[in-house]
Subunit: 511 residues, 2 copies
């Protein structure tokens, strides 16, 4: 291919343009109202509140799913889980994720935005939980990341390494140890230094990237607020909120340290930093969970408490301080936005659900868009403007509820927080989220407002449903043989375990 | 009395020391989470959020009662309603207030802090709702205020002026008109210019006081957020939250205008401004009520949603910006604090429940204290530190609940949001409000933490209960004859109505 003269001249004469760095801080099971700036009464997040005061608050921001794996797959692919395969068809409308025995993971033909950033010259790293599949072919270094420090799964355990292996923690392509072995989490005290490791890794990566004079993308995904909760010793017992609050305080401190480092290194004006969470606070975790404050229910549900995320954008000099944007946003938008920031074209060979948020971030303009709330293979609800229509409602089964699993602790709205999967597709339950963010007062069917809201949302929903082409579901099969018995690098650590025979079967997804 | 020489010298030689002005902004039925800074998702209170950023946020601040009249009586007297008489003994633990036919009101032997400020040379004014009794002897000009613009009762109506007279609006000692007659509120559109009148009156009063070179106390009590809601035309339809939000936006605008005026007049550094509300958001008002966000239930209840108030203190130069204080505060504290600000001794001839908050405001120090949650004649609950013990629980009667009156819309916590008055005095229901601000997870009876929390709170409660001497209840009797048939000044307006014969009887208090 012949380059046009101007390009040759530019390449020949111009210094390389230093692109904007991107840091994406994705919290785990943190609720919308866990931040002081979003209303947590203990007001224990001074660094995040300062980040918001220096940047833009996005109170109408959503996950693409009320559970971690699909949410993270949507973030990185810019596509709904129903398209990128992060769902199950084993049963209707059930949440699925990537436990240790999951066979599937992020498909090779999905394009993750770090892949595109990497190709454009970015140094890329993930620090923390991955959750897009735990077999080697699904690992971050195969999907756009130069470096990795963290784990493919949740930090559940400790396991006995016989029936179930402890989860490995990777340093790039090789395992560096396992949770509860080399990487301790003390369930008795809640003590673990993992968040400190994740903070230090972030600082090292930022420093190295700047030294290498390369733009960087850091995907910072600490998981201290996911059950089992943990915090390092200096933070234990410091919160009004118990161990959950200790974990939040440590993460807040980490955010402060990272932003301060960007300022000290004088790259704050060249760095877009996003803070958000993967799904709503886990209300079933009793007092040890996050807060979704005004919103109904929590994690695992498609009510606002399950999918509205505490989101802040920070980019000094480009994003003006003290802004609030009511742009309806989705984690998927960061795919498109990251590409826009790096001046990389959006792939045209597939449907991307995310939109470019730069106009909202920089000029506080708002574009019309619809948020679709999926649970497994079902579009449960949709929001346009301030109206949200529930086409299906479900919390969890009555059997599970009776065993004490409650995704809507202490809350009950008739015909809404149902324990049967209720089909409202002919006449959805509609809320005005401005007057009624808590989804407590359905619009009266037959009223003028109901009819107008229905006419607003329903055609968009029907269009969406008629055109969506579900991807191959990745979360249907489980197999003990794929568990982390012998992760790459286990030999050097003398920590390989015997792999059992394959026993592939449909996974059981209970809610 | 002979003055000591030093006093004579001081009087003779010193210029009058200009004391600190005090503005107390008390909202009506506004919820803890109605402000952006306290977590309202629409983020529609930029002026209040700015006030908080320039001053001190008090997230652990309480009313003395979950209903307006007793709450306001407690604020002005510094004493619990059980002491100052603002309660009823007609039935156990029932809320009472000052409707139009109430016979009682603020007793003459109660000392209101505006009386003491007035004696010390302050110019004092109330603008808005009074609610401490509606017979003339209970009016503000008899109890410490130089001036009044507003009404003795809620703006309920319109009435027919036959069975029930419309509520008068007073300009000082004389009625200036009546609601729905000279002072319009349009129930169809929600339009009324009352808040604009209250804002203008505030500006006039501030200007006049400064011109007169007198320190001032302004008690600003607009009631636009109390049902029936209203806002002036420029604010109608501007909120995401409907008419309630329109009212909040107009009040927020008023706060901004008043603070800006203080700055323009260069008295901001000489003025302590407090913002708070009289009780929690009214959840039974369906979508037209305030938000108590993380807290359980609302107005009329002694759960956190009924009594935790959105409170801000602002005093540039004295209160540092961007502060948060977790001092447990009560509306009653402003009695003692106002006297401290004006350097007036606290009366020693009676028990004052309020404490001096100046150390908290100025130095962010915290003193140990207990919050008592009363409903009518019963101490329902008490908080010390982060523990709250419910000795009685009640929302409202099951009969009322079945008719659709729900003080805890969509919320239900077993053994807590009870529809019978449940006596837990032998083993209170205890919550840790740090981990569980929503009062959803009672501590397990028999656990170590329960026992320790009980040992912390119960001795204080027993001491309080054994020593409290209930004042003469003022809210037991009602009489049609005392209604606003012929308010002072009605003759000049040609608006006197015939007074019916007296028919004094026990008032009916349903919840």
């Amino acid at each position: 291919m012949k380059l046009p003269l101007i390009a040759v001249l530019l390449v020949g004469l111009s210094p390389v343009v230093y692109s904007t760095n991107i840091i994406y801080m994705l919290m785990d099971d943190m609720g919308w109202a866990d931040l002081g700036v979003y209303g947590q009464p203990a007001k224990e997040t001074p660094n995040l509140d300062k980040m918001a005061a220096e940047g833009l608050l996005l109170p109408d921001f959503y996950s693409a799913n009320p559970l971690c794996s699909p949410s993270r797959a949507a973030l990185l692919t810019g596509r709904l889980p129903i398209r990128n395969g992060f769902y199950t068809t084993n049963e209707h409308a059930r949440n699925a994720y990537t436990p240790q025995d999951i066979v599937g993971g992020i498909p090779d033909d999905e394009v993750l935005f770090p892949e595109l950033l990497q190709k454009a010259g970015y140094k890329t790293k993930i620090i923390g939980k991955w959750h897009l599949g735990q077999q080697p072919q699904f690992h971050p270094l195969k999907h756009g990341f130069d470096e990795w420090f963290g784990a493919p799964n949740c930090h559940f355990g400790p396991y006995d390494n016989k029936k179930t292996p402890n989860i490995p923690v990777y340093k790039n392509a090789n395992m560096a140890g396992r949770y509860y072995e080399q990487f301790k989490i003390d369930h008795q005290t809640g003590e673990s230094n993992l968040t400190q490791l994740y903070i230090q890794e972030a600082l090292d990566f930022i420093n190295e990237s700047i030294t290498a004079d390369k733009p960087f993308f850091l995907y910072w995904t600490p998981d201290a607020t996911h059950d089992p909760l943990y915090a390092s010793k200096p933070f234990l017992g410091t919160s009004q909120r118990g161990l959950y609050g200790d974990a939040v305080r440590e993460l807040d401190s980490g955010v402060g340290i990272i932003l301060q480092t960007l300022q000290t290194l004088n790259v704050d004006k060249d760095t877009l930093v996003i803070f958000s969470s993967d799904n709503g606070g886990a209300l079933y975790a009793a007092v040890n969970g996050g807060s979704n404050a005004p919103f109904l229910c929590g994690k695992e549900t498609t009510f606002e408490g399950g999918m509205r995320e505490p989101t802040i954008a920070w980019w000094p000099g480009t994003i003006k301080p003290n802004q609030v944007s009511h742009q309806l946003g989705s984690l998927m938008d960061w795919f498109t936005t990251a590409l826009a920031v790096a001046d990389i074209p959006v792939p045209h060979d597939r449907l991307i659900d995310g939109i470019n948020l730069l106009p909202a971030l920089v000029n506080n303009t708002i574009v019309d868009r619809t948020i679709f709330y999926y649970r497994g293979d079902e579009m449960m609800a949709a929001r346009n403007g301030l109206y949200k229509a529930h086409y299906w409602t479900w919390t969890n089964s009555i059997e599970e509820f009776k065993r004490g699993v409650d995704f809507c602790r202490g809350e009950q709205v008739n015909n809404v927080t149902t324990h049967d999967q209720m089909n409202h597709t002919m006449d959805p339950v509609i809320f005005h989220l401005g007057r009624d963010p808590g989804e407590k007062y359905p619009l009266k069917k037959g009223s003028k407002e109901y009819s107008e809201a229905f006419q607003l949302v329903d055609p968009i929903v029907q269009e969406h449903k008629s055109k969506v082409k579900p991807g191959e579901p990745q979360l249907n099969y489980c197999d003990r043989a794929v568990m982390n018995w012998a992760p790459t690098g286990c030999r050097q650590l003398n920590n390989c375990l015997p792999v059992p025979a394959s026993d592939k079967k449909l996974c059981t997804w209970v809610h």
